[in-house]
């Protein structure tokens, strides 16, 4: 087989995979522009493009409060989780303490728990503690499920940074905290962003905790809220409106990925040491 033929094969395979993965997304987008009973038009494209569903969705208090909850809860869990993970990972990468292996394997074990198995005990516990249907009630489980992965990712990044970086900073007059903040964290930035994005996605896309640990607009995030969605009237199926809502919540995720993709890819450590 010649080089050209193999290249063409790769291209065809690539296109097939892109079509396969993007088709459902395209379908949702097209569905979200279908007006009223156009949903049943048995075609891929709407007969008439309309913003009606977006208007319905954004006008409904149910959706906007859910969007607010989702953004708030996801951002807070991300910031807290990544900050804690950065400290923990630094300690794991740099300090010698007994039980280091245990901490790491425990963290991994937690990440392997099926989420659903934690829902009943958490439900009971949160009811007793008064955390049921609050932001905190969702932030805590999100953090406990994303911390292990963040710690693993970040400690791998910290281990890659040569020891001399901190030592040079300390000789230059930095306290250990300054060395960490001014030298190590900027160098580990790609790792921090990776961890942040993974955490944000987990919180943003979660449905299980969102639906079982909330009861009202006070804390219900978007994926759970969509299940409670009704259309314009109680009797119409809200398919198109749900599609519009789905498009609205997908946008921030895409924007985030595009924004941070560069940061993740950039090899910041190049040039640190001899080359």
């Amino acid at each position: 087989m010649g080089r050209g033929a193999s290249k063409a094969l790769w291209a065809i395979a690539g296109v097939l995979i892109i079509v396969y993965t993007l088709f459902p997304v395209a379908w949702i987008v097209s569905l979200s522009f279908k007006k009223g009973s156009d949903v049943q038009n048995q075609q891929f494209f709407p007969t008439e493009w309309s913003w009606e569903n977006y208007k319905t969705v954004l006008d409904s208090g149910l959706f906007t409060s859910a969007l607010r909850n989702s953004i708030g809860i996801s951002l807070i869990s991300t910031v807290v989780s990544v900050t804690l993970a950065t400290f923990a990972a630094y300690a794991i990468a740099r300090l010698e303490f007994s039980g280091k292996k245990l901490v790491l394997s425990m963290a991994l074990a937690i990440a392997m728990f099926p989420t659903i198995s934690l829902v009943p005990p958490l439900f009971d516990l949160w009811r007793t503690l008064g955390l049921y249907d609050t932001w905190i009630g969702l932030i805590i489980p999100y953090m406990s499920f994303t911390l292990p992965l963040s710690i693993w990712t970040l400690s791998a990044f910290f281990r890659e940074i040569p020891w001399e970086m901190e030592q040079a900073a300390q000789v230059d007059g930095a306290t250990p905290w300054q060395a960490f903040r001014k030298v190590i964290v900027p160098l580990a930035a790609p790792g921090v962003f990776t961890a942040a994005i993974l955490t944000f996605f987990f919180a943003w896309n979660d449905f299980v905790f969102g639906i079982s640990l909330t009861a009202s607009d006070a804390a219900r995030p978007v994926p759970a809220a969509l299940a409670f969605f009704t259309g314009e009237s109680f009797f119409t199926e809200p398919t198109a409106a749900i599609a519009a809502a789905a498009v609205v919540v997908t946008i921030p995720v895409i924007v985030l990925v595009l924004l941070f993709q560069r940061k993740i890819v950039a090899g910041l450590t190049s040039g640190a040491v001899k080359g």
Binding site: A168, V171, D172, G173, T175, L268, A272
Partner: protein, 394 residues
């Protein structure tokens, strides 16, 4: 600027192995001190103890008369250049050099002034806004030095700063470091395993072996009066010839000739003993090229050359000889310790480049016996004993 004093410094690791054992050194204010030795001799550990990156197991370290054993690196006010430079890759050259000043919270105006002065000194002006990854090895090296000299540190510490550069650049940077240190007059401790650097840069050189200080003296003193076999074998390239020598009737019998015992050695004490004689390649010459004035200091002998190497400005001849098992084992062990290969015994002779001695034919050589050293093969000590050490730089 300050003097650094080490008193009975010991570094013992968890397994009880002493990486640095009872080292005492006084480094004068403004002095350029070299720590040298083969890999694993503890020279880098010693440097890292001075700067505070390694704990001191026992002993006293004082900088400028103040005991600093327990001080954190930032409180010791020393500047260090790391082997791999340890530049901050996320900062520009300007910010890399400015880093210590920023930590000291100096105003922007002062920072700019100082960084530009240093950049001028190190010819880094046009690179100030680049990142370290865009620089060549030599430029990175200069940035690392810039970061060290930008704040007026008590002393500079260098940890094999040139070992990552290629040979040509290394020579240039060596001169650069020397010029800089003379100009700034700052106390400097410089670790290297390269004896050219050791000999050319240092006011004094401290030779370490397995964590123990062997000799600390001026380069000239080390070369001409090594205290033991280790220093004798380590200093000098090509290395000193270590020949078996037997003392009989106050004369030293060498593989090729018999020579009078050097002055300063008690003939009675050495009588009948098997010793190691140390003669540098430069102490030999083609008998035809010896000045009449020098001739009396040594004597001539005949030997057959195996191989000659002509390098233009110098010429070496290799003459194989037989050595008793006892001496040979000693010399081989020393070679292994100095990261060299144990070779069959051969005399290395430095000849006048004009000499036309032919390989495979007997020829007349001359040896300057007045500069011969005699070592005890068991202890390795120089029989002439230790001369009065040069305490101050020349």
């Amino acid at each position: 600027m300050a003097a650094i004093s080490l008193k009975n410094i010991v570094k013992r690791y968890g397994d009880g192995y002493p990486a640095v054992n009872d080292v005492s050194l006084d480094i004068a204010d403004g002095e350029f001190m070299i720590l040298v030795g083969p890999s694993g001799c503890g020279k880098s550990t010693l440097l890292r103890m001075i700067v505070g990156l390694e704990d001191i197991t026992s002993g006293d370290l004082s900088i400028g008369g103040r005991r600093v054993n327990e001080l954190a690196p930032r409180e010791r006010k020393l500047a260090m250049v790391f082997q791999n430079y340890a530049l901050y890759p996320h900062l520009t050259v300007y910010e890399n050099i400015a880093f210590p000043l920023r930590l000291a919270k100096q105003p922007d105006e002062t920072v700019r002034e100082k960084v530009e002065k240093v950049a001028e000194l190190l010819e880094l002006k046009e690179h100030l806004h680049r990142k370290p990854s865009q620089l060549s090895g030599g430029q990175r090296q200069r940035v690392a030095m810039g970061r060290a000299i930008v704040r007026e540190a008590e002393a500079f510490l260098f940890d094999e700063p040139l070992s990552n550069l290629d040979a040509k650049l290394r020579g240039q940077m060596r001169t650069e470091i020397s010029r800089l240190q003379r100009r700034l007059g700052t106390t400097t401790v410089y670790v290297t395993h390269d004896q050219t650097e050791a000999m050319t840069l240092g006011d004094r050189v401290a030779v370490l072996r397995k964590g123990v200080l062997q000799q600390c003296a001026t380069p000239r003193e080390l070369y001409e009066h090594p205290v033991n076999l280790f220093v004798a074998g380590f200093i000098g390239a090509p290395p000193m010839n270590l020949l078996p020598a037997t003392v009989t009737n106050g004369k030293v019998e060498l593989p090729f000739c018999t020579v009078p015992i050097p002055s300063g050695i008690d003939p009675a004490a050495a009588e009948g003993k098997l010793l190691v004689a140390g003669l540098r390649p430069g102490h030999f010459e083609d008998a035809a090229y010896v000045d009449a004035a020098k001739r009396n200091r040594g004597q001539t002998f005949e030997a057959t050359v195996d191989v000659t190497e002509w390098l233009g400005n110098e010429q070496y001849a290799y003459v194989p000889y037989e050595s008793p098992e006892e001496i040979r084992a000693q010399v081989d062990a020393l070679a292994t310790e100095l990261d060299m290969e144990a070779m069959r015994p051969q005399l290395i002779i430095s000849l006048d480049p004009a000499s036309r001695i032919k390989e495979g034919r007997p020829a007349q050589f001359w040896v300057d016996t007045s500069r011969m050293h005699l070592f005890n093969p068991q202890t390795g000590n120089n029989l002439a004993g230790q001369r009065e050490p040069d305490t101050q730089p020349a």
